[in-house]
């Protein structure tokens, strides 16, 4: 699959490394050139310095032929805008984005985006652990 990742922070480079290891064709976009230092030296994908909400940048990253688009910058609004460009303008078949703010996550889910909200996910996992601890025989 041709996968375009916007945002090369911890999550972005992890995804980029995993997807290339699985044999996918990966392009990573980040506004900060030093963001790519995290990638492995022999990273087989392409990297592009630029903002993921600029159509020219996205086109040079091959958005017109992408099968998957992932928006994981650390800015919710950038991810929302980038994902909408991919889904509504370029009709990329699979678009996934990260949104930290749970309210915004819900609103844009209702608007048809596939949103991952780490805030609710992590809070849920922690609650689970806490409750599992409370249920242990010690109590």
């Amino acid at each position: 699959m041709r996968i375009l990742i916007v945002g090369c922070g911890r999550v972005g480079w992890r995804l980029a490394s995993d997807f290339t290891a699985q044999g996918h064709d990966v392009v990573v976009v980040d506004i900060k050139p030093h963001a790519f230092r995290q990638l492995p030296e022999e990273f087989p994908g392409r990297v592009i310095v630029g903002t993921g909400i600029d159509e020219d940048v996205l086109r040079s990253a091959g958005i017109e032929h992408a099968d998957v688009f992932v928006a994981v910058t650390n800015d919710d609004n950038t991810n929302i805008m980038a994902a909408q460009i991919a889904q509504k303008i370029y009709h990329v078949p699979r678009v996934v984005l990260r949104v930290y703010d749970p309210v915004r996550a819900e609103i844009f889910r209702e608007l048809g985006l596939t949103v991952v909200c780490p805030t609710t996910t992590v809070a849920g996992l922690i609650e689970e652990q806490v409750l599992a601890g409370a249920a242990s025989p010690q109590g």
């Binding site: 909400i53 600029d54 919710d76 609004n77 929302i80 309210v103 915004r104 609103i107 608007l111």
Partner: protein
């Protein structure tokens, strides 16, 4: 009418000031607490510190009863999300976004923003109107109908020269609304004969602009 302005930079500041002066009920949301304090001293209690893309902040500002939300921050992604939140979450009837990158005007329209304002494009169109030797000028885009108002100076070798308007094969969806000849305004009829050097003002479908330019100017 209740208007919420998001973003208290220069644009937001003067916009709020003007709207308050015009007698509108206005509320300004700005992230920077120092700016908020200064603005509150000038405008009174119509300024709130916060992130306008947060639902809780919009709610506290009374977005539910706002007639218009105007997002004028310096970041297009923020302006887009603010307007979409206002529309989708709070049912605001009219949302207006400032567009910093002029390329985003088209994009925002496709994503459902009612009105976009691009300073770059506004200044560009003013410059184009001021340059006299430009024979074909796009004066105004009428957004919803996809129409434009254009001005063209008829060239000496245009096929329309010395023809009455009723005999000229204009492209479809073009309407000649005025002719300027040596500073005089002529409201044209079918019998009006076009001369070289006339300035024609026409309403046209945007996709017909190029054909019209070809007919009058080339």
């Amino acid at each position: 009418m209740y208007i919420i302005v998001v973003g208290g930079g220069k644009v937001g500041y003067y916009l709020t000031k003007t709207l308050v002066h015009e007698g509108y009920e206005v509320f300004l949301i700005e992230k920077n607490p120092i700016k908020c304090q200064i603005y509150a001293e000038r405008f009174g209690a119509v300024v709130m510190q916060g992130d306008g893309a947060e639902a809780a902040i919009l709610e506290a500002a009374g977005a539910g009863r706002a007639d218009v939300v105007i997002a004028v921050t310096g970041d297009d992604e923020d302006n887009l999300v603010i307007c979409q939140m206002a529309k989708e979450r709070f049912g605001v009837a009219r949302v207006i976004a400032r567009v910093n990158n002029p390329k985003n005007e088209e994009l925002f329209r496709k994503l459902g923003i009612d009105v976009t304002v691009s300073q770059t494009n506004v200044i560009l169109s003013i410059i184009e109107q001021q340059i006299p030797e430009r024979p074909f000028v796009h004066l105004l885009a009428l957004r919803h109908a996809d129409l434009a108002i254009v001005e063209a100076k008829v060239s000496d070798d245009s096929p329309v020269v010395n023809q009455p308007i009723e005999r000229i094969q204009f492209p479809p969806e073009v309407n000649v609304t005025a002719v300027l000849r040596a500073g005089d305004l002529i409201i044209p009829t079918g019998q009006t004969v076009i001369r070289a050097g006339d300035e024609i003002i026409a309403v046209t479908k945007r996709e017909r602009e190029e054909e019209l330019r070809h007919l009058l100017v080339d």
